[in-house]
């Protein structure tokens, strides 16, 4: 198995290289320049702008810039942000804990809702519970997060005045700090978690329904096994294979999809870093963040593959 993982990782290298070329070319061809704010400022002489462009290598040809980037990247140097003039890895590491906390909690919430609800609904198809679950799931994933986000803000912050809607790093420690950190994360986690839960519930339900009708399940029941045991041990384990794929492949997309939520609640995560860097034409940061997303896709694919084998031993590693 470790050989399998190693082989897969080796294969990943050329694909990541290809991805990086595409990303770099697209970014280099995209219009805009990081010093646009200086352009209308009469205090800043054109020479300074030109000097900055030369200094940051913006006037070099694309292939040269790419080679520079690649050489630095191989040595673990991610480059530095034109706008902040600090290293990109510092910038990303600063944002990562928040992203993991908020996105992680939202994903956890989604799983905690989707799996029990989906499984229960599948065991009683077309029951009142199933109908309700389906209805909510449909509403859930047809409402975009920017809409529910603003709705939550209007209800819980403006009308009821219960929750803050600006997510910020609260100073301090101990229980009150923890409570405050939880309090301000409630709305974004709910918005994101419910959105995810909605589509996942539908998926879990249909995966369960596919398996629940198979002969071996009937056999298990005929042997006199209890309903709970049949569902958990026999049905769920097999039904989880497509669900794992979905969740694993969705992870990178979630980082991206959280951009909107991060923007609404001002969460200092990777998504908001990406969007502000795009707006500021801060190419090294955009490049690094999108490249991280690409790596995540590759990585989570691998994780999904490994999980398949664990869930269904018939899938072997060769």
């Amino acid at each position: 198995m470790s050989q399998y993982i190693l082989r897969r990782l080796m294969i990943a290298i050329p694909s990541l290289l290809g991805i990086s070329v595409v990303l770099f070319v697209v970014l280099a061809l995209a219009p805009g320049d990081p010093f646009s704010e200086l352009a209308t400022n009469p205090n800043v002489p054109p020479e300074v702008q030109a000097a900055l462009r030369t200094k940051f290598g913006l006037d070099d040809p694309i292939y040269l810039r790419y080679l520079h980037w690649l050489a630095a990247m191989v040595q673990g140097d991610w480059g530095f942000s034109f706008v902040s003039r600090i290293n990109v890895d510092t910038l990303i590491l600063q944002r990562l804990p928040t992203t993991l906390y908020v996105i992680g909690s939202a994903q956890l919430l989604a799983l905690l809702i989707a799996i029990p609800v989906g499984v229960y609904a599948a065991t009683r198809p077309y029951s009142l519970f199933d109908q309700l679950a389906n209805t909510f799931a449909f509403i859930g994933f047809s409402l975009p997060t920017f809409f529910t986000g603003i709705l939550f803000i209007l209800v819980f912050s403006v009308k009821l005045d219960w929750l803050p809607f600006v997510y910020t790093d609260v100073p301090g420690s101990g229980i009150p700090w923890l409570l405050e950190m939880i309090r301000q994360a409630i709305m974004p986690v709910m918005v994101l978690g419910l959105f995810q839960a909605a589509s996942m519930t539908r998926f879990v339900r249909s995966a369960m329904l596919d398996v629940i009708r198979l002969d071996y399940v009937t056999t298990a029941r005929a042997k006199g096994l209890g309903q709970a045991k049949v569902i958990v041990k026999h049905v769920m384990r097999n039904a989880m294979i497509p669900v794992v794929t979905l969740i694993a492949l969705q992870m990178p997309a979630v980082f991206g999809g959280a951009i909107v939520t991060e923007q609404i609640f001002r969460i200092p995560g990777i998504g908001s870093l990406l969007i502000s860097s795009i707006l500021a034409n801060d190419t090294p940061v955009v490049m690094a963040v999108t490249f991280v997303f690409a790596c995540l896709v590759v990585l989570f694919n691998l994780i999904a593959d490994v999980l398949y084998g664990w869930l269904d031993p018939r899938i072997s590693f060769r």
């Binding site: 209308t40 400022n41 902040s84 003039r85 600090i86 600006v166 001002r266």
Partner: protein, 596 residues
């Protein structure tokens, strides 16, 4: 006659024959405002009166936290690298200049012991040198003493081309020398009437020599102090996350008595202007939000029964429509809008005037800007003494039509005017921005009534305002017939603002479109007036020269001023900020307090 009287009176005040208040009263009597009268005195060489400071707290600290919301978060904390006001605002919490512009546009000493004037010997009569006396006993946040060495170093740092500081223009063309530990002398090459540029305001922040000395020139990016500022300001640095958060705490050693009031400060970034306004005005989660360029009706709605309000600061920012004097559709030597061409339609003065008559500023103000804008006919809108009274805007489709008729543009069968078989068609470009697209629509409608076919174009702001040489859609390439945007006036002196349209600054392929004269307008009288004003030491003559510049632009209809824009800020009902249209919002942070 008025000039001579005025000059005599200024001399009287200067020599003590008339007192300041009497002068101001007389000025008011002839219809001027008090701040204007003070400005006249100031530029007339009479030491500036500092506005009475309404600061009330009687002890330092005890004010709890101050929470600021900047919808574009600061991305770096070195004032000499600041790429936008957001970065200047962020660094200004920790760093300080020698003086800053206060609410009324007067100089207010910060690290200086006094404002240089002719009386105190600070200003040379030939306007070729300034002596600044520094406040004694000021300490950097790390406890080291602040001295003249730091001021001299800041000049060396910023003026070194290898540092690539954005403030470099401010420090070029002068030498700064240490007289003693608490005195520096600035020497200018030429007479410099606007001497209060270096070491004043956003680009004037002094940085500590002992921390930056190694990082002058090419190594400027490597200084860890770029991210962890050590300044002299009212708040000490705690934490910085670029684009997201700045946190600071009270500086107990601050050099002004009873200041600052707040114990901690937080500047949070990100999000958008509307929700920033909401967090301050409606929910009161934050105390102050910056630059709320939101439609007025939205603000009025938020303000109803809210916990905050909007504040307006008057500066000199101008939204205008510029006219292309060259032909954007003909290529000469591989260059469009070349100086070798003339615009086929707009080189006719009557057509330009007709266009000016078709901009309905009243409606634009009513529908779009509300309290945040003032309809204007001037390119130069402040300070008061530089504002022309000779111009007057008007909206009239009839007059515009008559002018076009005169110019030979006859109505065609489809309602669009034509001349020699050519349709009267103009391309009107601007950046993508709600209010700008609405303004475009209003102007287009009026133009249609007068028989001008206007094609609208909007370009993403990051492209439109970029200095990218290869991109034809930037405002400085100006490959359209007319274009609209805002030019901020960054200091209360028109020199930089007016120098842009000097003919040597025409944007061409040769200077990679870096020249700021994008209408490509050439006028000898204008050039002469700008050049003269640069070295004119008589304040009244100088103000006259800039008024003349403004009027020349108006007569030639180089650009159609649309709106004099004010800075809009959202503020909690209890916080008392000290804002100035001529300064950054955080420039007078030491004077902010909360009314309890």
């Amino acid at each position: 006659m008025f000039d001579n009287n005025l000059r005599g009176m200024i001399d009287d005040v200067r020599d003590g024959r008339m007192d300041r208040r009497a002068f101001v009263k007389r000025m008011i009597a002839v219809g001027l405002t008090a701040p204007l009268a003070n400005q006249i005195l100031a530029i007339g060489g009479v030491a500036m009166a500092q506005s009475p400071n309404p600061y009330k707290p009687t002890k330092r600290g005890g004010g709890g936290p101050l929470k600021l919301l900047w919808w574009q978060g600061p991305t770096l904390l070195n004032p000499h690298f600041a790429t936008g006001t957001k970065d200047q605002d962020g660094s200004r919490i920790f760093y300080e200049p020698l003086a800053s512009w206060d609410v009324d546009g007067h100089l207010n000493p910060i690290l200086a012991a006094e404002i240089p004037s002719i009386q105190n010997g600070g200003l040379a009569a030939d306007a070729k040198s300034v002596v600044w006396k520094l406040k004694p006993g000021v300490k950097w946040h790390d406890g080291k003493p602040f001295s003249a060495d730091d001021v001299v170093f800041t000049w060396e740092y910023a003026s070194d081309p290898a540092t690539a500081a954005v403030s470099s223009a401010t420090y070029a063309g002068m030498t700064v020398e240490k007289v003693d530990d608490l005195t520096v002398r600035i020497k200018f090459k030429d007479p410099t009437p606007f001497w209060a540029n270096a070491f004043v305001g956003a680009y004037g922040c002094i940085i500590p020599k002992h921390l930056f000395a190694e990082f002058k020139g090419g190594k400027s990016r490597e200084a860890s102090t770029n991210l962890k500022p050590v300044g002299t300001g009212p708040y000490k640095f705690i934490e910085f996350k670029p684009g997201d958060l700045i946190r600071g705490e009270i500086n107990q050693d601050y050099h002004m008595a009873n200041r600052p009031y707040f114990d901690t400060i937080e500047m949070k970034g990100g999000g958008d202007a509307v929700s920033a306004a909401r967090a301050v005005i409606q929910t009161g989660e934050y105390d102050f939000a910056w630059n709320i360029q939101v439609e007025d009706e939205v603000l009025l709605r938020l303000e109803k029964g809210g916990k905050g309000k909007t504040l307006y600061a008057v500066g000199g920012d101008i939204e205008f429509i510029a006219i292309n004097f060259t032909d954007p559709n003909t290529e000469v030597d591989g260059e469009r809008s070349s100086m070798k061409t003339k615009h086929p339609i707009l080189s006719d003065q009557r057509v330009r005037q007709a266009l000016a008559l078709l901009v309905d500023r009243e409606s634009i103000k009513k529908v779009i800007y509300g309290r945040a804008g003032r309809a204007t006919a001037n390119y130069l809108n402040g300070p008061e003494e530089f504002v022309s009274k000779n111009t007057k805007w008007e909206f009239s489709v009839e007059k515009a039509s008559a002018l076009l008729e005169q110019a030979g543009w006859k109505a065609g069968s489809d309602g669009i005017r034509e001349k020699d078989g050519k349709k009267l068609k103009l391309l009107y470009q601007t950046s993508i921005n709600g209010p700008r697209q609405k303004t475009q629509a209003i102007v287009k409608q009026a133009c249609q009534k007068a028989g001008i076919d206007v094609e609208l174009k909007s370009v993403v702001a990051s492209v439109f305002f970029s200095s990218d040489v290869a991109n034809p859609d930037t405002y400085s390439h100006f490959y359209a017939d007319i274009e609209m945007f805002q030019i901020p006036m960054t200091q209360p002196d028109p020199a930089l603002h007016m120098r842009r349209y000097h003919s040597r600054n025409v944007a061409t392929k040769e200077n990679k479109w870096q020249g700021p004269n994008f209408p490509r307008w050439v006028n000898k009288d204008y050039d002469a007036a700008v050049d003269a004003a640069d070295t004119e030491t008589d304040p009244i003559k100088r103000a006259d020269l800039y008024i003349k510049c403004n009027d020349l632009m108006w007569q030639d209809t180089v650009m159609i001023p649309v709106m004099h824009r004010l800075a809009v800020e959202a503020c909690s009902n209890t916080v008392r900020p000290a804002l100035s249209g001529w300064a950054n919002q955080t420039d007078n942070l030491q004077d902010w307090y909360r009314e309890t």
